[in-house]
């Protein structure tokens, strides 16, 4: 994505943070307010002396305006501020912080992500204690046996005169129960061990699978030319340590393989060169579903697609199952995303292709061309409710972004005021 197209947006943000009117800034830099307005809406390119002048008036480095700081980094820093629970005085200078101290900002963001991962692990573990039926049954077994032993033992210990038949009976019971207790407690320990030693070191299975995909750039040449199968790739991947992550990655790779077979790389490349990125045309040419095309496009290397592309897949609960990040489009790490994403519009209109230009709220307001569709996960059957999943392809640099739809990442860090879709209050008080 060409970052310099957003210089104007950054100037506007910075000016608004300082509470300066457009006319004031225009006067200070010797241009007309209407010209500044065009610049601020990215309708005029800006560089050279004017940029230096404007940066001087706004009190920032010119590079801060021309390059900005990484949107995802800023989004993570905001999340960190939100989750810290202490009032952060310099929330309005997060951009500057990330721009001037990128290394430190990255340290902070990494720390925050790590905390989020650990919190999630704790949540999962406590969920497991409450809801895991195997664990509940195991604990029940141990406690029941302990109850039987305790009752029986205290009868033997406290009852002065006990008939021999009862005494023998209770001794036998005690023996049986102690054996059962040692077995059930061993089973419980094994059960807990199995979950904790390997799985939770690295965090959630989904994270492991994501790391694996990221390490491979979301593209798998071996699956393209058929030289290896999904299983082989999984087995040789060091990033995938837990069985749960392996099965997640395997499911995604199997899907990848099927999509790659339906739309072979070379044929698809030719199609894109001839007609551009036109998902419906591709779907017709290869006789496959639009959802497969969107997934497939996101799996192409950047040089084949001609641009960066992000992808999200969710199930009917709205939970993100798969994420391919794209520069400038913030995706919440945990928790629910913005319900205004076209992904969710598609989810409630199954099989209807949805295409929207969206502008993600935030400092680096960037427009994205989003294409989404929901498809039945399995062939629906009579008498069974269909299960839908939705996929959204996210392409930076929407062309006709005249009237883009405003969306966020997640409510907590979204500054939009009066949003009808708001689920919880934002930590950001300012209006941009």
């Amino acid at each position: 994505m060409a970052r310099d197209t957003l210089t104007g947006s950054r100037i506007r943000e910075r000016r608004l943070i300082l509470g300066m009117r457009q006319a004031e800034l225009a006067r200070a830099t010797g241009i007309s307010a209407s010209y500044l307005n065009l610049i601020e809406h990215n309708r005029r390119r800006i560089g050279g002396k004017l940029l230096v002048d404007i940066a001087g008036v706004l009190g920032v480095e010119p590079s801060m305006l021309s390059e900005g700081a990484e949107a995802a980094l800023i989004s993570t820093l905001r999340e960190a501020a939100a989750d810290s629970g202490v009032p952060v005085a310099e929330l309005d200078r997060v951009d500057e912080f990330a721009g001037r101290f990128p290394g430190w900002a990255e340290v902070l963001a990494t720390g925050h992500r790590r905390i989020a991962t650990l919190e999630r692990t704790v949540e999962t573990l406590s969920d497991r204690l409450t809801h895991d039926p195997n664990l509940a049954a195991s604990v029940h077994e141990v406690l029941s046996t302990a109850a039987a032993i305790r009752s029986t033992a205290s009868i033997l210990a406290e009852t002065g005169e006990l008939e021999p038949e009862w005494r023998d009976r209770f001794h036998k019971n005690l023996n049986e129960d102690s054996l059962r207790l040692s077995e059930s407690s061993r089973a419980l320990v094994n059960f807990l061990d199995e979950g904790d030693t390997s799985d939770d070191r690295r965090g959630m299975p989904q994270e492991e699978a994501e790391v694996f995909f990221q390490e491979n750039g979301f593209h798998f040449p071996a699956l393209e030319d058929g030289s290896a199968g999904a299983e082989q790739l999984i087995q040789t991947a060091p990033a995938l340590t837990s069985p749960a992550a392996r099965s997640l990655a395997q499911a995604a790779l199997t899907q990848y393989q099927a999509d790659a077979r339906a739309m072979p790389l070379h044929a698809l490349e030719e199609e894109i060169q001839a007609k551009g990125v036109a998902p419906v045309a591709i779907a017709r040419r290869f006789a496959c579903g639009l959802s497969a095309v969107l997934r497939r496009l996101a799996a192409l290397p950047e040089e084949v697609l001609g641009q960066e592309a992000g992808l999200v897949v969710c199930d009917a609960s709205g939970t993100l199952l798969f994420r391919k990040p794209v520069t400038g489009f913030a995706m919440p790490r945990f928790g629910a995303s913005c319900p205004l994403w076209p992904l969710y519009t598609a989810l409630v209109h199954p099989n209807v292709p949805v295409r929207r230009n969206v502008l993600q709220q935030g400092r680096n307001a960037a427009a994205f061309d989003c294409m989404a569709v929901a498809w039945p996960q399995e062939m629906p059957d009579f008498g069974a409710d269909p299960m839908y999943r939705a996929v959204m392809l996210i392409l930076p640099g929407a062309k006709d972004a005249e009237d883009p739809q405003l969306v966020g990442a997640s409510c907590r860090i979204c500054p939009r005021q009066g949003c009808p879709a708001r689920r919880e209050p934002s930590i950001l008080k300012e209006e941009f």
Partner: protein, 144 residues
């Protein structure tokens, strides 16, 4: 008092005749059943033990006991469901029910109280606790 009944519990009817204090115990753990049966018989109760949740309501209705001791997790039907059904039956609205459970969480306790359990006891319990609870419940029911 000295008991002359053996461990098999085949002579429980004798208990009814002698004492007139009758408890139905629904518990799928045989050794807990045996220990509680022994304790309560020593305390002068006649004890009917039953393991299956599905037919528990019927058994209780037929026995018409003074008290019910019920496990929460039972094969066939949960202790909570059994209590709910008992409370809806005519004539058993005030029957004292002592619920035993291995999960002592707050939520379980609330649900048990809502279902109409009179008293709640978490495993592992001591024999003295069981006896005290049973005596209290019986005394309260007698007053009411």
């Amino acid at each position: 008092m000295r008991l002359r009944t053996g461990p098999a519990g085949g002579q429980r009817r004798e208990g009814i005749l002698l004492m007139g204090r009758h408890v139905v115990l629904i518990e799928d753990e045989p050794n807990i059943t045996e220990a509680i049966r022994f304790l309560l018989m020593r305390d002068g109760w006649s004890v009917d033990a039953h393991t299956d949740g599905a037919t528990a309501v019927e058994v209780i209705r037929d026995a018409n006991p003074d008290l019910v001791i019920l496990d929460l997790m039972l094969p066939g039907k949960s202790g909570l469901e059994i209590v709910r059904e008992l409370r809806m039956e005519g004539g058993m609205g005030a029957l004292p029910v002592l619920m035993l459970t291995a999960r002592g969480q707050m939520r379980d306790r609330e649900m048990a109280e809502k279902a109409g359990v009179t008293r709640f006891m978490t495993k592992p319990f001591s024999n003295a606790e069981v006896l005290t609870a049973v005596r209290d419940l019986h005394a309260q029911a007698g007053q009411g």
